[in-house]
């Protein structure tokens, strides 16, 4: 029998406790342990970026972390970007308006990567945005609408902050 490890983790500002075996990945723990299925699994070898979440504010590939490793840490997933029945974040609205998604499978990972970007660089240009999401693969959109959505969102966040 594989040894179980007790973990406590904050996800989207909620405390969770659970038990995992050592090899359970963070992605699988979020999706099946906590039923937060917004984070998606696309490759399980750290290239496609669909599984991107924020751990202590930094974007990581959750398929390359073990669940045990977030014990005591703060995790943010796509579900935390907007309240359940509340308004979408500027980034999410901008994705809708600029058609930054088609099948939606890479989208949560994109949104988390871009959330980190906009926190650290509030006024990114096109090239910076493309570099930021170069680790998130999209097979549907060709990326330009994602860039446009991010530029729009950045402008809205800046406007909000200057008020």
């Amino acid at each position: 029998m594989e040894r179980k490890h007790a973990i406590s983790v904050t996800v989207n500002d909620h405390p969770y406790s659970g038990e995992v075996v050592g090899r359970t990945t963070l992605a699988d723990f979020l999706r099946h342990g906590l039923q937060l299925t917004g984070t998606h699994v696309g490759c399980e070898h750290g290239v496609c970026g669909a599984c991107t979440v924020l751990v202590d504010g930094s974007s990581v590939r959750s398929c390359l972390m073990l669940a045990v490793q977030v014990h005591g840490r703060r995790v943010e997933t796509v579900e935390g970007l907007a309240p359940a029945d509340g308004a979408l974040s500027h980034l999410q609205s901008a994705f809708l308006e600029h058609r930054g998604l088609q099948c939606g499978f890479c989208t949560p990972g994109m949104l988390m990567t871009l959330t980190e970007l906009l926190r650290t660089d509030p006024d990114p240009d096109e090239q910076m945005i493309r570099v930021a999401v170069s680790g998130n693969i999209c097979r549907c959109t060709g990326y330009q609408n994602i860039v446009d959505a991010t530029l729009e969102a950045a402008a809205r966040y800046r406007a909000e902050r200057s008020q």
Binding site: G22, R23, E44, H45, S58, S59, M65, T113, G135
Partner: protein, 289 residues
Amino acid sequence: MKPPPFEYHAPSTIEDALNLAATLQNAKILAGGQSLMPMLNMRYAFPDHVIDLNLIPELAYIREDGGALKLGALTRQRAVERSVLVQKLHPILQEALGHVGHIQTRNRGTIGGSLCHLDPSAELPGVVTAICGEIEVASVRGRRSIPMAQFPAFYMTPAIDEDEIVTGVSLPLWTPGHGFAFEEFARRHGDFAVAAVSVLIELGRDRQISRAAIVLAGIGSAPVRVAAAEQFIVGRAPTQDVLAQAAAMCRDVEARADAYTSADYRRYLAGVLGGRALTRAADRARAHH
């Protein structure tokens, strides 16, 4: 693609980690996970034990000490990329790190992890070789330093014992304002290097090159120092002609071939990238002079 079963250990001190390394059989060290986790997920590795070093704060540091920049093995690549101290002392590291994977890779990936993994196409081993870094290694039996040139034993295998853990890297300082440049060609931004060149140049008071390091990555199974080119440019002024000749020497190395890339093309790239790196490094050295 789920990892095979293993016993997970998370020591909180270096001493505990060394004890585990000494006593556990078939154990692997988990640092940033950007190399080990894909191997586990793809079931290319079957360790019975995984020793996670991420809970040992003493292993992550960036400091200047005794004429060297010292980086703890668990220092995140992203932290090095953004460090003001690193920018001051070894800016070539930051230039190279911009090519290492993507932000997510560098948020978790560590200096020690990349150096131990010794992927032939990785950027950091080449840079550390150029700087003439020393790898600091510890075990229950004591501590020692291994010059980077001697660190690769063979393909993707460092010259350390089963019970040894890399604790940090010591990067001796080059003179302030030294010329530096890192050039890489990859198929896409963030991919492993098809070929990469690290160049460091010091200019003497006579404006001639007094010290040089020219190291290729991606060309062989370990970083390749182009000693002939280094020796050629030392004692000469960094003119266009001199640098071009040195670049040509970068082509004159043995290169590996694989399913994607020919040896000829790698050698050709070494020459082109070497020329670009030499030119930029020389420009920077002159600018500071």
